[in-house]
């Protein structure tokens, strides 16, 4: 098992490299380029621009070789200031700094600086991470729980009133675009009924400091209940927007997976043993239906991420999705590449977790 996990982790590394190549090339091939963006910022002098360009191996009219060098520099394999694969210490640049490697590039935690704000990209992303994790974590847990419960119940009580209702509601939600659903929810429950806040993650009037600052966390830790309540209220509409469509599709998927396994021979064998119907459903039917469901959940994690961009934008949620949207508007190249990469790493990691969960759940998977 451990061996299997190690092998899957090692297999993930080339995937991440490929993702870094694709996100770099796509961004750098977009019209304009970082240099043009720098030029539009009146706060930086030409000398500063030239220094930054040199720091990141950026060339104003790059050839293919220049682009490769830009990528390797961004990655941290190429030492831009020294112009070689070796660091200032004469050792391979990709090594960690404390082993004598370089300090530039994402391998060394250097995602570059935001063109818009001048702050380190990593710092900006990390500041936005808690809000996104709160939104996605809540969404994921609710999404999986509701989709599985609704699907399993609908399958067990097939053709019942409950099953028909789930089917009906699913089809309605399944046909709604996410952004439109968000707007309608804002209009009904935020603006008209005034039940839920429609913007941000906390009520700025009642909090001593902006969300995710250390002052905020200090106040939070002193008296968590009202803060949790505040975040909870702000979560309702974005979470519903984010997961309603997915739940609609996935409860159908769970239902059919469950119906499938309910009709398997081993379920009949289980019934023939004279164990309770609940045990038959949980231990035998659901335990097997779990396998395709796990695969499906893993695939949909990526959709959750892309859905978060729209949802965070619609609800002004201070997370990575919103940051990405703002980054696109500002053509903040390094910021966008950083978010793409960190988002991809998160998706890859979660798929890895799902794969491992699958291997644990299915004894037929061979580990070697």
């Amino acid at each position: 098992m451990t061996q299997y996990i190690v092998r899957r982790v090692i297999q993930a590394i080339p995937v991440l490299f490929l993702i870094s190549v694709v996100s770099f090339v796509l961004m750098m091939q977009a019209p304009g380029g970082p240099a043009a963006q720098f030029n539009q910022n009146p706060h930086i002098s030409p000398a500063q621009i030239n220094k930054w360009l040199a720091d990141w191996c950026l060339v104003r009219q790059p050839t293919v070789m220049d682009t490769v060098r830009e990528y390797l520099g961004w990655l941290g394999v190429w030492n831009c200031t020294g112009g070689s694969f070796l660091s200032a210490h004469g050792l391979p640049n990709f090594l960690p700094a404390f082993l004598g490697g370089g300090t530039n590039g994402i391998l060394h935690g250097d995602f570059g600086y935001s063109i818009e704000t001048g702050q380190p990209v990593l710092q900006m992303i990390l500041a936005r991470l808690p809000a996104t994790l709160i939104l996605m974590g809540t969404a994921f847990v609710l999404w999986a729980t509701i989709a599985i419960l609704a699907g399993v119940l609908a399958a067990v009580k097939r053709y019942s009133f409950f099953d028909q209702s789930v089917t009906f509601v699913s089809y309605v939600f399944y046909s709604l675009p996410t952004f439109w659903l968000g707007l309608i929810l804002i209009f009904i429950f935020g603006v008209t009924l005034r039940w839920f806040p429609v913007q941000g993650i906390v009520n700025v009037r009642n909090t001593p400091a902006p969300f995710a600052t250390s002052a905020y966390w200090a106040a939070f830790a002193a008296n968590p209940l009202p803060y949790l309540y505040d975040i909870g209220a702000h979560l309702v509409l974005p979470v519903v927007t984010l997961i309603a469509v997915s739940i609609a599709g996935d409860s159908r998927f769970v239902r059919s997976a469950m119906l499938d396994s309910l009709h398997q021979d081993y379920v009949r064998t289980a019934r023939a043993k004279g164990i309770s119907e609940r045990q038959v459903i949980v231990r035998h039917a659901f335990r097997n239906a779990m396998l395709p469901i796990l695969t499906n959940l893993a695939l949909e994690i990526a959709f959750l991420f892309s859905g978060a961009i729209v949802t965070e934008t619609v609800f002004s949620w201070p997370g990575m999705g919103r940051l990405y949207y703002d980054g696109v508007n500002a053509r903040d190249y390094f910021l966008l590449m950083g978010i793409l990469l960190i988002g991809s790493v998160l998706v890859v990691v979660m798929n890895l977790v799902a794969d491992i969960a699958y291997a644990i759940a299915d004894p037929r998977i061979r580990y070697d």
Binding site: Y266, R268, A272, K273, G274, I275, H284, R287, P363
Partner: protein
């Protein structure tokens, strides 16, 4: 409501009817089936594919899925009570404990994600009211009983690590783990290699002898019937057409369908000659023939066969029963003079000799 059968009768199925209501209409899969199994006895149920053997077995186990299936009539007296009147909770005490079943498909009948031991122990815990450790020991003991080598190790394996024959052994171990009084085996060897088939049959015979459980063996292999069972029920299109001891039925078939089944067994001496199969195919379940259901395929069919259903009754004394107008007095007012072609004349003359008088 009927009265209980005598105590030596373990299972008494009376006029059982199980219908499936599907999109195109109603399938009378089991339509008035009656037979008895005595304690410790082996009864064979034979008949061609689709005649309702499995549905009969599943009905006795109360494992028919409703909808589409429905037990529309009859009684199943088992160990002194009509189990069709039990609630589904009460049935949990019977199923797996007093009666158990082995299925045709060993490859798919075990849960792929649970260990063999878990699957057997689960039944033991449910019925024997013992702890997990004792149930696990019982699982090992049962695996040894059915001849699985290295039971200690196998018990921790998952079904995919075992061959088809081994899985069927596990199914037998599972079925017998709670000492049932009746074991229903629905074509337990059909899906296996010929050599394995013989081993599994031998195993079933042996464990049945050792445990003294009664056996209801469903098969369409008359060779298996001849070797294994004491009495036979021959089914056709949801009905019993003939019953009797294995010798009576195989040596002296009374029903033309049984005769056809016996004639269609390939035999060594006739290598190269044409196989004597029964012409035609089983009737469309949505449009069952009005009279005898076998009449459209029967070489001896005559007028009453097409309009009147023959009763299942004894041509003589004893347990021998056959549902055929050749052997029963036809209903009042029906002329009992078969019309027949010359090809079947001799056979028919023999058959009707004792009946028409």
């Amino acid at each position: 409501m009927g009265t209980p059968p005598p105590p030596d009768v373990l299972l008494d199925v009376r006029d059982l009817r199980t219908y499936f209501r599907v999109m195109d209409g109603t399938v009378p899969a089991v339509d008035g089936v009656s037979f008895q199994v005595h304690r410790g006895e082996t009864l064979g149920v034979v008949g061609e594919s689709g005649c309702g053997k499995s549905v009969t077995a599943l009905t006795i186990m109360r494992l028919i899925e409703t909808p589409p299936g429905e037990i529309v009539g009859g009684e199943v007296w088992f160990n002194g009570r009509d189990i069709l009147t039990l609630s589904s909770d009460e049935m949990l005490q019977v199923r797996g404990a007093e009666m158990a079943m082995i299925f045709q498909e060993p490859m798919t009948s075990l849960n792929p994600v649970l260990t063999i031991g878990d699957q057997i122990a689960e039944a033991v815990v449910a019925h024997k009211k013992v702890g997990h450790k004792a149930a696990w020991d019982r699982a090992i003991e049962m695996l040894q009983l059915v001849g699985i080598p290295e039971a200690q190790r196998r018990v921790k394996q998952h079904p995919h690590e075992l061959s088809g024959g081994m899985r069927q052994r596990v199914m037998i171990a599972l079925a017998l783990s709670c000492d049932p009084k009746l074991l229903i085996a629905d074509e337990p060897t059909t899906a296996l290699d010929v050599t394995i088939q013989a081993q599994i049959l031998e195993l079933i015979r042996r464990v049945q002898e050792e445990t003294g459980t009664a056996l209801l063996l469903i098969t369409h292999d008359l060779g298996v019937v001849a070797e294994t069972v004491q009495r036979v029920v021959v089914m056709y299109a949801g009905k019993v057409v003939e019953t009797g001891t294995v010798d009576e039925v195989l040596q002296d078939p009374k029903h033309p369908y049984t005769e056809g089944l016996l004639a269609s067994i390939p035999s060594q001496g006739l290598r190269g000659t044409r196989l004597n199969v029964i012409r035609g195919s089983i009737p469309n379940p949505f449009r069952m023939p009005v009279g005898c259901r076998f009449a459209p395929r029967c070489p001896y069919a005559f007028d009453p066969c097409r309009d009147h259903e023959p009763p299942l009754e004894g041509p003589g004394d004893g347990d021998r029963r056959v549902a055929c107008w050749l052997h029963s007095r036809p209903p009042f007012g029906i002329e009992h003079r078969p019309r027949y072609g010359t090809s079947t004349a001799t056979a028919l003359a023999q058959r009707t000799a004792g009946v028409a008088s």
